[in-house]
């Protein structure tokens, strides 16, 4: 009684009408949960909960690289296609937008400008001085965009799975699959090696070979301790290649694997139909998480660490 006395009159009179015509958020959520749970029960009732193991389906084939074109020791395969797509996307997005700059930006230009200022001010600018930032910004920016685009293209289903073919109106095309070039160990490894050699050369150029190696030892450490620290620092420099590689590779690979399993592979392997319906919402949520956060975040981390390593290589005091 007292609660209704406090609430204003018009709100209480319109609320029930609105609720009858349109479902509230809570009701929509309850309905979705009901459909989901009901689907599990119905599928379990029809197909049973005991399936037999399916050994014919091999999930690792999603990541298998078939040679499409043989070029001696090189070959063109799925990963090469994804790399080319990412490179084209990187160049086109930046050059096309730069050519059509307007004083009043539209939405795409605004987004690109945000990306640009993120790359220039936050990633590059915060790790090195102005002159060096101007010199290395194109490298770090290209690295960031290339990794981000190859991650993002990986979440678009493309007809690249030549292992299995589907026929559309009598035309046989490769089935659609999710694959990212960065989910292949070689691609992040090469990127990490490029980064390693860039910052080593930059450091050697700034301080000379002896100076660079001496710069690895933190100031104030002398004698026998300096030798031990020196070897540790050399080792940690080499470990940077490994950590850059594995961070990017394993993040993207694990993301693709978990999307694959949640979106149905688990149900196919175990042969339980209801399980596929059960895991589908998790698959969609993880897909959104990977596209929305992980793809850009990993590119950001890779570029930020590159900038920090480059800045650290030329810094006077370690």
């Amino acid at each position: 009684m007292s609660a209704s006395a406090h609430s204003p009159g018009p709100a209480t009179s319109t609320a029930p009408n609105g609720a009858r015509r349109k479902l509230s958020t809570k009701q929509k959520l309850l309905l979705a949960a009901g459909v989901w749970l009901g689907g599990i029960v119905v599928l379990a009732a029809i197909y049973g909960v005991k399936g037999h193991r399916n050994n014919a389906f091999e999930p690792q084939n999603e990541f298998k690289l078939d040679n499409w074109v043989n070029l001696g020791i090189f070959s063109i395969n799925k990963a090469v296609l994804y790399l080319v797509l990412a490179a084209v996307a990187t160049c086109v997005s930046m050059i096309y937008i730069a050519r059509r700059m307007q004083a009043r930006p539209n939405k795409v230009q605004a987004a690109v400008e945000v990306l640009f200022s993120l790359m220039r001010d936050n990633i590059t600018g915060s790790a090195m001085d102005e002159k060096m930032a101007a010199k290395w910004f194109p490298f770090i920016g290209a690295l960031f965009l290339f990794i981000m685009f190859s991650n993002l293209i990986g979440y678009i289903p493309l007809p690249t799975n030549t292992e299995h073919e589907i026929s559309v109106f009598g035309l046989s095309i490769p089935s659609f699959s999710l694959y990212a070039a960065t989910a292949n160990l070689a691609v992040p490894l090469v990127l990490a090696l490029v980064v390693f050699f860039s910052y080593t050369f930059e450091g050697v150029r700034a301080k000379g070979p002896i100076g660079y190696l001496r710069g690895l030892i933190p100031g104030g450490v002398t004698g026998g301790m300096a030798v031990a620290i020196f070897f540790l620092e050399v080792l940690s420099n080499l470990m940077r290649i490994l950590s850059l590689t594995i961070r990017l590779f394993a993040n993207i690979l694990a993301g693709h694997l978990i999307i694959l399993f949640m979106a149905g592979a688990l149900a196919v392997i175990l042969g339980i139909t209801a399980l596929g319906w059960f895991t589908l919402p998790f698959g969609i949520a993880l897909f959104a998480f990977e596209v929305g956060l992980v793809a850009a975040l990993q590119a950001f981390i890779f570029a930020t660490l590159t900038a920090i390593y480059l800045g650290g290589a030329v810094a006077e005091d370690h």
């Binding site: 950590s243 594995i246 961070r247 394993a250 993040n251 975040l297």
Partner: protein, 90 residues
């Protein structure tokens, strides 16, 4: 008697190797997830604390928070990769 015992032992060794691989994967993935989970929790908690203390530094703190998040999350993947190596390759 002896032959039966040897075949039993051989079968047991194979089963043990399988069990060891499964344990490797479980420890690599599971303990890796535990450590990274604790670390990520600490990072976000500290970031919230820092932002509530100094809201004007929000942007800088957010950037550092994501950097820390990704570096910590990577540790989970090191464990996972080691576990996968143990289970499928070694």
């Amino acid at each position: 008697m002896h032959i039966a015992f040897i075949t039993f032992l051989a079968a047991a060794t194979e089963e043990t190797a399988k069990a060891g691989k499964s344990i490797g994967l479980g420890v690599g993935g599971g303990l890796g997830a535990v450590g990274a989970g604790v670390g990520i929790g600490i990072i976000f908690g500290k970031a919230i604390e820092a932002i509530t203390r100094q809201p004007e530094m929000r942007d800088e703190i957010t950037q550092l928070q994501w950097l820390g998040f990704a570096l910590t999350e990577a540790c989970f993947f090191y464990g996972l990769v080691a576990g996968l190596l143990a289970a499928f390759i070694v």
